[in-house]
Symmetry: C2
DNA sequence: ATTTTTTGAGTAAACGTTTACGCAATTAAT
DNA sequence: ATTAATTGCGTAAACGTTTACTCAAAAAAT
């Protein structure tokens, strides 16, 4: 049997209530007994039974985090950021990996919800409707990170629309006029819509009418990059491609290599995300780097705020980080 | 206020105990009331308060998982395997990321322990002594996955010693006689020791006396691979190198490229791990692939076993998966 | 028709912690 | 020296579930 507060109380010759007050540092107690109790707690190897504490307290400090199992290699960075901040502000993180299978998703979410949660954070997840229903029906704050779900729940992400301007401007300044956007042509997720719109508008700003064929590729996957090169053939009808995720850009890079297309001489590539994956390619990828750690930290501070509007949208920083995959063709 | 069992009981005109029996599917109840209760529970949006349940039950079904934040890209695969099995057997996973900072590690572990846990699984972690002490002092089953901590706590991992034989045999058959092992020269972790010993013994089995200089590199990092090439120069004094982790091997690959060393013509590479990272390199890496999903599933089934000895060591499968980084020089 | 067994469901205690309330003892203010 | 305020701590209830015990009613066995 584990040590309880009562065991400590008995040994110290005081009541359990006093021990509780001391260990939680709430209410009144004398420093003398406090020291004795803390010492005993340590000696006896006491661990608070959080379940009991949760039960007796109304306010929860536990934040659930839904992480997709589909290997998004930036999830770690966001979680790390969240953990740092949570640690600092006294919140606890409950991390759950969710599969794409909607059935299992619901089960996982329900098991999360049966802990009394303050909030649920969704990391880069396009949540399925049935799961979303379960979440909204439950009485928890919701927050979407690295994915905008405009006006439905609050979100923290890069400004995907502005980001495309940054990238297009950069490429334009390097002399590029024909550009492709690879991997953001799903109709569905808002992120893809914003990136497409941003891409098109940025081109128009420079007086370039965009070619709809040059927005191609649905899956956020390595294969998408490979396939893109296959589809457009050699020579490519554009001089620069923007990969909508690092893994896609690596596909582009390798596809180009396989097809005898030189990067950056025949094809310039800018990747979106800028995780450490971009550092282990040859040539090193030029990236529009998202600030994932910042997203994580902001997630926690945002949730700490009581009155969070579902319309809240917070944007995090973007840095254009030069690598060796963009040629100046002026 | 959230819906409780009592609310359902009131509405159904029965006692809370009956509702509990029905929802947990334990004890006796009629199918008629059961259906009514289940229907009500669904309608009213009821979620079990797991804290309360935990409190009233002695046996815990919660397994804590310690995951290092140092990006090991196979942790996901192990967790996925664990989650599948846990889901199947009715266990719940509580995942916590731990930093390398020992202070924060302890805090995280303590917060884990204040949930009533059945067990704690350590993923590829060389736990620091103070943290380990906290864990052993607590009354939970421990299990190390993807890392052997011989005879201290039970572990599930690849047979690192045998794995080296598999790799060396393979390279030997391809005609290689001079081989290097990169990234396993830490004195400390047992895994490194076993890999070194396996490497040396396997060479000796083929009548090759090994060159101690050819076991080089400590950090499990990209830079280690890059540095290795720099250190040994061009031409390299060996024809094959074994990278002790995918990320190291990618370092070797890129280092070789930078130095004008052709892979596999001038240097053959076999990588240990075989995560999907090996598929996105050019050339594709030949790998001694560990079965991480299997590790995850076995972790759960092993922990389900009551009497688990600290001496238990379970080995998972290894597959030598040919890529394009090994040349036949016979 | 009686006895035995089974079934459905209620009662109440228990899990470990927190906290509102109260009270005596101490300290401060007059 | 009296009154007022403060301090330290105990009592007891509460949180939501589970479960060992009951017990009446229904079903089965005699």
């Amino acid at each position: 049997m584990a040590i309880t507060i009562k065991d400590i109380a008995n040994k110290a010759g005081i009541s359990a209530a006093s021990v509780s007050r001391i260990l939680t540092n709430r209410g009144r107690f004398s420093e003398a007994t406090a020291q004795r109790v803390r010492q005993l707690a340590h000696e006896m190897g006491y661990y608070k039974n959080q379940s009991a504490a949760d039960l007796s307290q109304k306010e929860s400090r536990v934040i659930g985090v839904l992480v997709p199992t589909t290997h998004t290699n930036f999830a770690d960075e966001i979680i790390k950021g969240m953990q740092t901040k949570a640690f600092e502000l006294g919140y606890e993180l409950l991390i759950a990996f969710v599969e794409t299978d909607s059935q299992q998703q619901i089960k996982t979410v329900k098991s999360l919800l049966s802990r009394q949660l303050l909030a649920v954070v969704m990391l880069a997840i396009d949540i399925e409707d049935p799961v979303f229903e379960v979440l909204t029906k439950a009485d928890v704050r919701l927050l979407s990170v690295s994915n905008q779900l405009n006006n439905v729940i609050p979100s923290i992400s890069s400004d995907n629309y502005a980001m495309m301007h940054t990238i297009v401007d950069y490429l334009y300044n390097q002399g590029h006029r024909k550009m492709a956007l690879i991997g953001a042509s799903n109709p569905d997720p808002i992120v893809a819509i914003l990136r497409r719109k941003g891409f098109i508008d940025a081109l128009l700003d420079h007086g370039i009418t965009y070619n709809p064929d040059f927005i191609w590729g649905v899956e956020n996957a390595y294969q998408t990059g490979l396939d893109a090169i296959k589809k457009f053939g050699n020579p490519l009808p554009f001089t620069a491609a923007i990969g909508s995720a690092d893994i896609i850009s690596i596909g582009l890079l390798n596809g180009a290599k396989d097809a005898g297309i030189a990067v950056p001489d025949d094809l310039s590539i800018v990747t979106i995300d800028g995780t450490e994956l971009t550092q282990i390619t040859r040539p090193i990828l030029t990236a529009a780097q998202q600030n994932f750690a910042q997203m994580g930290e902001l997630a926690i501070t945002t949730l700490a705020d009581q009155n969070l509007s579902p319309h809240t949208i917070i944007f995090t920083d973007i840095t254009l980080k030069p690598g060796d995959t963009v040629a100046n063709i002026n």
